[in-house]
């Protein structure tokens, strides 16, 4: 098991080196310092800002610098603010939206999918699937705008219940429902349609298998058949789906953070791209690449844990 993890990590080192090399080249096609300062920049300004990040050094030196996960570089747009500090500040707001959202979405949509698959072709299933299709056909932005208008603005003004904030963020568990519950709910509603339909098709496939008939013939009740026999067999696609969203979990939900004014990773990256804040962009991209590789390794390990037919050796 651990040797497998170690070997996987070793295999992925060249992959990571390759990705970083490519990204660094791609980000340097246009001079980032020139892009940041604009056409009226003086030669000294350009030289100064390049020196700040070591862009005046040889490429190989820069490559090692990026590979060493050195985030102690200063942001260009926010003078004196280090990228590591920006990461530290924005990770908690991001996770406090994405983590509950992913957990809720997965639990709810897997449950609905199992029920739907079990009763497939019957009114229960049809109703649920119509709701899912309608739900996923409405744009993310519609949910956000109406959520903010009805859930936050009108609820406070007309009913007098100040349950949700229109935007903003305060740390602490006490403040969580006020600032985060609404965006989390919106995120759940948006992703539920897709997820339910995906999980349902997985479950429908499993529910037609012979071992389901065997379980019923043994005297198992519906709940046991659905949530033990069927669910464990459906774990591979479920894990795949959840794990691919894992890097995005840490990088935050860009739209929600921007619209709800939550200072998470997504919004920080969004702002950095707008401002051509090169040190921030480069750091975030390297982190994202690393997270992707790690979640792939984790996926492989989890496969082996749920399915005995997958061998780790």
């Amino acid at each position: 098991m651990w040797t497998y993890v170690a070997r996987k990590l070793l295999y992925n080192i060249p992959v990571y080196l390759g990705i970083i090399l490519f990204l660094m080249l791609a980000l340097r096609v246009n001079d980032p310092a020139y892009a940041f300062l604009g056409k009226n920049a003086t030669a000294t300004d350009l030289a100064d800002i390049k020196a700040k990040l070591g862009l005046d050094q040889p490429f190989f030196y820069q490559y090692l610098e990026v590979l060493s996960f050195n985030f102690d570089v200063e942001s260009w747009a926010n003078e004196g603010l280090k990228v590591s500090e920006m990461l530290k500040r924005s990770i908690v707001p991001s996770l406090s939206i994405t983590l509950p959202a992913l957990t809720l979405t997965s639990i709810i949509s897997i449950t609905i999918a199992i029920i739907s698959a079990y009763f497939r072709g019957r009114p229960v299933d049809r109703t649920l699937m119509v709701v899912a299709v309608v739900g996923m056909s409405v744009s993310f932005l519609v949910y956000i705008v109406f959520g903010q208008y009805w859930g936050a603005y009108l609820l406070t003004r007309d009913v007098g219940i100040d349950a949700f904030a229109i935007g903003g963020f305060e740390p602490g568990l006490k403040n969580w429902p006020y600032y985060c519950l609404l965006p989390v709910l919106i995120s759940v509603i948006v992703s539920m349609g897709y997820d339910t339909r995906f999980y349902r098709s997985v479950m429908v496939e499993e529910s037609g298998r012979d071992y389901i008939t065997t379980a019923v013939a043994k005297g198992a009740n519906k709940r046991k058949v659905m949530f033990v026999h069927m669910l464990k067999n459906a774990m591979i696609p479920i894990i795949t789906r959840i794990m691919t969203t894992l890097p995005f979990l840490i990088m935050g939900s860009l739209l929600l953070e921007v619209y709800f004014n939550i200072p998470g990773m997504g919004r920080v990256l969004f702002k950095a791209i707008q401002e051509q804040d090169f040190p921030v962009i480069q750091s975030f991209v390297t982190i994202f690449a690393a997270l992707f590789i790690l979640s792939n390794i984790l996926t492989d390990v989890l496969y082996a844990l749920v399915d005995p037919r997958v061998r780790l050796s």
Binding site: F119, G121, R122, R209, D210, Y211, T213, T214, A215, V216, A217, K218, G219, A220, N221, H229, K232, N233, M235, V306, D307, P308, R309
Partner: protein
């Protein structure tokens, strides 16, 4: 071969199972009646698609109930109850405990992600009051009973670590672990090679004698029938067309279809050398295009006008019954 005529353990009366399809309702099993006695083996034979499996699944109520239903006059009498009317809860108590089933595909019938022991334990957990340790002992004992090598080690293995024959043994162990009154075996040996087939059949025979279980053996292999069955029921296009003891069926089949089936068994011996194997021309009619008269008419070499006009009834003649206007009589 001697069947003690005690009380039947299972009585199926006028069982008709219908399916709702896009083209309307089809009756896959049409008015099937038979009795099953303790300790006997009843063979149900017929071509693919003649309703054998649907009959057995109807008894266990394993068919999806939103696309299938039994006609109201259908009765499956077991333990003083009509299983066609039983509640899901009552059905769960019967399934796996009083009536157990073995399926055709040992490769896919076991759940691939759970250990053998877990799957055996499941049936015991539902139907017995044994504690976990006792259930494990019982599971090992069952594996030993079905002649599984090294049961203590095998119990912790996954289905993919076992061969097809071993998996079918596990299925049998699972079916028999609560000592059911009836074992329904739906083509248990079709997917296995011949040597394993013989072992599995011997095993089932031995277990029947040991536990006095009634076995309903569904097969299209008449060799298997001759080897293990006491009585045979021949089905064609959803109907029972002949029902008799094994000896009677093999020595004096009355229905032309039964005879044709028997003739299409390859025989060994020098006399048969170079001779063509007789086959039955045509295929089983689809359930939507059943003829008005006898359902076998289009393939029958003895067809006459009466066969087209009128469907023969299943008539009882000295302990055996058949559905034909022109039975073959004494000839074989």
């Amino acid at each position: 071969m001697s069947t003690t005529k005690t009380q039947p353990v299972l009585q199926v009366k006028n069982l008709s199972t219908c399916f709702k399809t896009d083209n309307g309702i089809v009756t896959a099993v049409d008015d099937v009646s038979f009795d099953l006695y303790p300790g006997e083996t009843l063979g149900i034979v017929g071509e693919s698609g003649c309703g054998k499996t649907v009959t057995s699944k109807s008894i266990m109520r394993l068919l999806p109930d939103h696309i299938s239903f039994q006609k109201p006059e259908s009765q499956v009498l077991f333990g003083g109850r009509n299983l066609c009317q039983a509640s899901p809860r009552e059905m769960r108590k019967v399934r796996g405990d009083r009536i157990a089933m073995i399926f055709q595909e040992p490769m896919t019938s076991l759940n691939p992600v759970f250990r053998i022991g877990w799957q055996l334990d499941e049936a015991l957990e539902y139907h017995t009051n044994l504690d976990k340790a006792a259930r494990r002992d019982r599971a090992i004992e069952m594996l030993r009973l079905v002649e599984m090598p090294e049961p203590e080690r095998r119990i912790d293995e996954y289905p993919h670590q076992l061969s097809g024959g071993m998996r079918q043994r596990v299925m049998i162990a699972m079916a028999l672990c609560c000592e059911p009154d009836i074992l329904i075996a739906d083509e248990p040996t079709t997917a296995l090679d011949v040597t394993i087939q013989a072992q599995i059949l011997d095993l089932m025979n031995g277990l029947k004698e040991k536990l006095n279980t009634a076995i309903m053996l569904i097969t299209h292999d008449l060799g298997v029938v001759a080897q293990v069955c006491d009585r045979v029921m021949v089905m064609y296009a959803g109907r029972v067309i002949e029902s008799a003891t094994v000896r009677e069926v093999f020595h004096s089949p009355q229905h032309p279809y039964t005879r044709a089936l028997l003739q299409s068994i390859p025989k060994s011996g020098a006399r048969q050398h170079g001779r063509r194997l007789p086959t039955i021309p045509g295929i089983v009619p689809g359930l939507f295009e059943l003829p008005d008269g006898c359902r076998f008419q289009d393939r029958c070499e003895l067809k006459e006008q009466r066969c087209v006009d009128e469907e023969p009834a299943l008539e009882l003649h000295d302990e055996r019954s058949y559905r034909c206007h022109f039975p073959l009589g004494g000839q074989a």
